[in-house]
Amino acid sequence: MPLLARIRSLRDLLFRKEELEADLDNELKAFVEQITARHVARGMTHEAARRAALLEVGGVEAVKDGVRTARIGNGLETTIGDARYAWRSLWRAPGFAIAATLTLGLGIGATTAIFSLVNALLLEDLPFRDPGRLVLVWNDVTFGGYGRAPLAAAELYDLRQRSTLFEGFGGIWANTTVLTDRDPEQIRMGLVTADFFTLLGAAPALGRVFRPDDDEEGASPTILLSDAVWRRRFDSDASIVGKTIEVDHGLSMVIGVMPAGFRPMLPTDSNVPDDLQAWLPLGAIRSATAPRGQRFLRVIGRMKPGVTLSAAQKEIASIGLQTGREQPFYGPAGLSLYGVGLHADSVRDTRPTLLALFAGVGLLLLAACVNVAGLLVARAAARTRETAVRMALGAGVGRLLRQYAIEGLVLGALGGLAGVLIGRAGLAVLIVLRPSTLGRIDTASIDPTVMAFTAGVALTWGLLLSLAPLAEIRGVTIASPSPANRAPTGSRRVAAGRPYRRRAALVVCQVALSAVLLVGAGLLVRAFLMLVRSDPGFSSAGIVTFRVAQNWMRFDSPEKMIAFTRELRLRLAALPGVTGVGAISHLPYDDGLPNWGTPYLHEGDTNLANAGTADTRSVMPGFFEAIGATLVEGRFFIDADGLSALPVTIVDERLAKRMWPGQSAIGQRLVGDPRTTGLPQQTVTVVGVVRHLRHRRPAIEVREQLYYPFEQAPRNPMAYVVRSDLDIGQLAPLVRQTIASLDPGSPAADIRPLSDYVSSARAARRFAAVLAAGFAGAALLLAAIGVYGVTAYGIALRRRELGVRMALGATGRQIVMLVVGESARLAAAGLAIGLLGAAGAAALMRTQLYGVTMLDPISFGLAITVLAVAVALAAWLPAQHAASTNPLESLRSE
């Protein structure tokens, strides 16, 4: 059908309506004339002929109506008319329009920003092929205090051999290595099974990923680079694939480069960070004879198409059970493996935070909408006359409903538009502020899903808000002001008593909502402050850290390595301003290194089922002193705890209490595994007990801790800690010089203050607390505006009464008290409801509260105080104004 004709007629309809109507009118007139003429020709008088003609036409207006209905876009025309009307009436009240748009826009914008995070992190699929089929396998060593342990290579082998529901299982283990070709540089790398990337379904940007033959015995060494390293260290060399680079003093061929956005997307407690810089083949894992105590592999599996997660989980569990029964290593404890969906597991830490923020922003949006509803109710009340006139002119209730709905939609659209702009800006800020644990936030954007969500929210709220003034038109009749609206005195001003009550109800809602948000934010902020103030067992003040990867080509024996570290410590200690030097295998909260969990047993106990798993660290003398650890009994490590000295250990209080309750641990012996053989087989003597160091998670004690002296449990690289009164800018060059003077081939990496690690560990909580406080502040402001509005409105309604009171001798103070008292009652009602809601919200947030009880009196008390002050101020301003006006003036204005 000719589209052009339709468009033309639609255009005519929209923009040349008058012409169209005139044309129709002329045509029908001519038609009547023609028939009249015909009748006259047949001998009728002109009068009779005309009457007959009109009769035949059957009502000119009816014909016109028929034509109009036939026109394309008739419904559209009415709608556009309504929209135009809505737009015009908003335009006529710019103050209302701006206030409503901004309020709605702020609410929607904040919601949009938070939703875009929820969308990017929780809703969107992981960026791998068919990611729903990816399963992460954990090893439940709960009996040793380790519910989410990695797997031993032999266990990966078992899974591969026995599974029928999986396409395959691959493993990854993150660690560091050194690129040694020039300017030696430490990098974080992932050691992977050759099938890891193919199972994950991640493609390289250049070259290829690993092939099965890459980890066969005798395969020539290969390396896969990250985009970052390729750009920085290899100047984005497009022909790098096939070239050979020096990795840890050996030659490896570059087989490919991963794309810029690639991340393994494993949960944080897997110690596989998102920012790995290279991947190397793990080497052959083909035997079931690898030590089963060496649990280090993070294992992912890809289910075959059509396999359900629960079937896959059952299979993994049963393989674990079967292996546990067959292998004597496991003893009565057996082997307990379990699978979880990769996506669900990778967001398990961030989900509660995001959902709490989303709920909070939802409340804020609700508060914003309640504010706008208040504005709309006030406006509808002011428009009662207009509505009555429209009804008198024949607008049906349906027509009015439609008009209001369209006004709501126009408002919603404006608010949505403002919301997208505000949301975009908000998201940019969130991305800048993002804590490293929420690093993946940078993938969030206002994408089509977010846009659709925002549009949905805006239009839904627009429609809902259009219902707000409906209550007003319900009472309006053609003869309005109706009896319902007419006060006994018949005064026009007092007539609006109902809208006052409605606005009062809305204010109660606002106060309640902001109370919930204030208490919620108060709890989060308090929990964060408690965390900051809490003592993790060490102090980061004045401490600079860096990792030194020792050049093992040059220091090729334990004695030489030890000599290097001793000399390095001496030289660092001799630097000006340095008051303490030590080193440890793992820095606090540094999840980029595989944490080290080792088994331990009472001396003489050989039953592995009794073994605990302890967080294990290798420590050099001076470390505990430098970070201010608390010695409970015994001593710290000393240089004499050397290679050939008595094997010793320092344990934390928890382990001491578990092993030797009620006794001193000093001099006790346990069987541990300082050299990571996978089995407790080295008897060590406890020489010291320290307060637990909360260096894994800032808020929780993960498990018991064992510390071995470095020289008896060597590690490379080691992280040095230097306590000094120099700032990092002064100290860093000194550190570099010192190391280079010993060996230029042993690079230092990540020269950072220890406080960096500490604050990044708390960053997610700070992020949530700051946002929650922002939401609460905004809600408080909205509530204050609401209270101000309703108070001012109440005063306007009662001006006459107040005038009389003042004329009869009421003091200004009494008037203020009267007015403020009214608003205070509303606020009190809202507060009561809000506090109940807040208690419920606190129960939901329970897991995120550190050091704060659910009904924390300080948070609740503070919320009440802040709200009370805000409400009092918001009510006092208009009241004060009312009390200062001349009573006679207000009487005269009646």
Partner: protein, 110 residues
């Protein structure tokens, strides 16, 4: 008119209007007269149906209109078939022939 005008089958009005315009442009009354004439008074199209139909056809581009003068010198709006309208008429006629044939067969079968 002895015979009572029959009800117009739904959808046939558009076809009849297009048909009356096949040979020459006509004004509204002309269309209605022509329909009465060719159906020998079987169908009488009332203005209440005629004008909406004309507007509908014009909007979808099957006919166009221009103001002109009648033989008696009165102003009248004349409707003319467009090429799209001509094509449409052919299609409608073919369909109609099929329907007539089919209905005829059903009736004969009884």
């Amino acid at each position: 008119m002895a015979k009572r005008p029959a009800e117009l089958l739904k959808g046939t009005l558009d076809m009849l209007i297009l048909k009356t315009l096949e040979l020459e442009p006509r004004h509204g009354l002309g269309v209605s007269d022509r329909i009465a004439q060719i159906t020998r008074g079987t169908f009488a199209v009332k203005p209440g149906s005629l004008f909406p139909a004309l507007y509908r056809l014009e909007q979808v581009g099957f006919i166009t209109s221009t103001w002109g003068a009648t033989d008696a010198g009165r102003p009248a709006k004349y409707y003319e078939l467009t090429s799209a309208g001509r094509k449409r008429l052919v299609v409608e006629q073919r369909n109609w022939a099929r329907i007539v044939l089919a209905v005829g067969q059903v009736l004969e079968a009884e």
